[in-house]
Amino acid sequence: MDVSFQVNGRRRCVSARPHDRLVDVLRDDLGLREVKLSCGEGLCGACTVLVDGRPVSACMMLAVRADGAAITTVRGLAPDGELHPLQAQLIERGAVQCGYCTPGMILSAHALLERRSDPTEAEVRGALSGNLCRCTGYQQIVEAVLATARERRGAEPT
């Protein structure tokens, strides 16, 4: 059946079967390979996308349910190729190793910073608790998110 939604501000239409997952439609039909697929059961968060601003595991959402939604992938945070502040901080702080968890991490962090301008470390860790990283041990990721929050408030990112 025809499903139509916005991805990164652009209207897309796909033909999806009832059991097709959003992650597969984004990756394979739309070629958006920045959306990663890992556990396929909603635990690791690698496939995190924003649906109407809220982080969702795309492997656990049927594509047919995305009809009419506004979807954001990490590509949508960096239009024109300019790094989003979160991306810049992650790179700066050595918070990216293999990079596989990174798109999902960025979207979960972005959603947090959109609603909390001054999150505590506990709130950052809570917001990222559905995004697993096998490489970094999370510390630099958390620091990058806190630094981005400070930067957005006009304070010293230190």
């Binding site: 059991h19 097709d20 597969d24 635990l43 968060g45 982080p55 969702v56 656990m60 049927l62 608790s129």
Partner: protein, 329 residues
């Protein structure tokens, strides 16, 4: 190196390495409904469910449905367009629409209030932030999984479930809704539309705790909810304790409740409640934990949640004591 068997028409092609694409792998998955409906009214949803019977399943968040991956599901009936979302206060009670997301329940000021807090805590403990943005309380209840996080909280809060079907609307006590593991009391064509939490007297408080193998994202090894009030002398009034993941359905712990009822919450009372907590539970050894560990957890978590609820009930009492008027003697 030749490509693998060409994909069926209309399907995504294999990626550059010749390996099948994710969609091609996914097509071998047993969960393959062929029809999807998005009714605009409850009556339409009921008609679809009645017509298709066991071949049809309601999809709300879909997070349990996709994991269950039942092969016999032919028809999906999407419940998200039926206006069943939201948490509302009404004549002292709280009404929760069946397709309300766990994220909304966790953040609801109404449900964070002391009497209902066990449910807000349960919602915050369920899944991951991403899953909580999709999964619904109605889906959790109807899945009737033994470890469902909302279930012990709903039991101690005496929730009433509103079920709508071909013969109209009926109300089912949550305690009567779970017939066995993954077996609920819905009849053919019936749909859970709402959950009603009755009013609780002032000074009542509830608490919930979940233990999994990891802090976030795991199914519960054990989950426990308690609810109680305190009288003027600090004695326990109308205690409720419920536990999940230790039997085919969530259970009320009547033995613990009897040990607490009318008693001041001193250490020996809590100890008795802990000892009685394992009466009637039937934990199993599974991939997450042994039966023995589950029994040990229950003995600790029951007095723990009772203590939390009592502390909150004490604060409720203290804050409701009338203050003397300004300028008084």
């Amino acid at each position: 190196m030749s490509a693998s068997t060409p994909p069926p028409p209309g399907q995504a092609e294999a990626c550059r390495t010749g390996l099948p694409s994710a969609a091609a792998i996914n097509s071998r998955h047993p969960f393959r409904p062929s029809r999807y409906h998005r009714p605009a009214a409850v009556a339409e949803a009921v008609e679809l469910l009645d017509r298709h019977g066991p071949e049809a399943r309601v999809i709300a968040g879909g997070t349990d449905l996709l994991l269950e991956a039942a092969p016999g599901v032919a028809v999906l009936v999407d419940a998200n367009g039926l206006g069943l979302e939201g948490v509302r206060a009404g004549d002292g009670a709280v009404e929760i629409g069946a397709t309300t997301r766990f994220a909304e329940i966790a953040a609801s000021p109404l449900l964070q209030a002391a009497p209902y807090r066990a449910l807000a805590q349960a919602a915050a403990a369920m899944g991951t932030p991403q899953i909580r943005n999709q999964a619904t309380i109605g889906g959790n209840v109807c899945s009737a999984v033994p470890c469902g996080d909302s279930l012990p909280a709903l039991l101690v809060l005496d929730a009433q479930l509103t079920v709508t079907g071909p013969s109209g609307e009926r109300s089912v006590a949550v305690a009567d809704f779970f017939r066995g593991a993954r077996t609920n009391a819905l009849g053919r064509g019936e749909l859970l539309t709402g959950i009603r939490l009755p009013a609780h007297p002032g000074g009542t408080a509830s608490a919930f705790v979940k233990k999994g193998r990891v802090a976030v994202g795991d199914l519960a090894v054990v989950n426990v909810a308690s609810r109680l009030g305190l009288d003027g002398e600090g004695r326990c009034v109308d205690p409720r304790v419920a536990v999940g993941a230790v039997a085919a359905t969530p259970l009320r712990l009547r033995g613990s409740e009897a040990a607490l009822d009318g008693q001041p919450l001193r250490d020996e009372v809590l100890r008795r409640a802990a000892e009685r907590a394992v009466d009637g539970i039937r934990p199993i050894d599974d991939i997450r934990a042994s039966a023995d560990y589950r029994r040990a957890l229950v003995r600790v978590l029951v007095p723990g949640t009772v203590g939390d609820a009592a502390a909150a009930a004490g604060r409720e009492q203290a804050s409701s004591v009338p203050r003397p008027a300004r300028g008084g003697p």
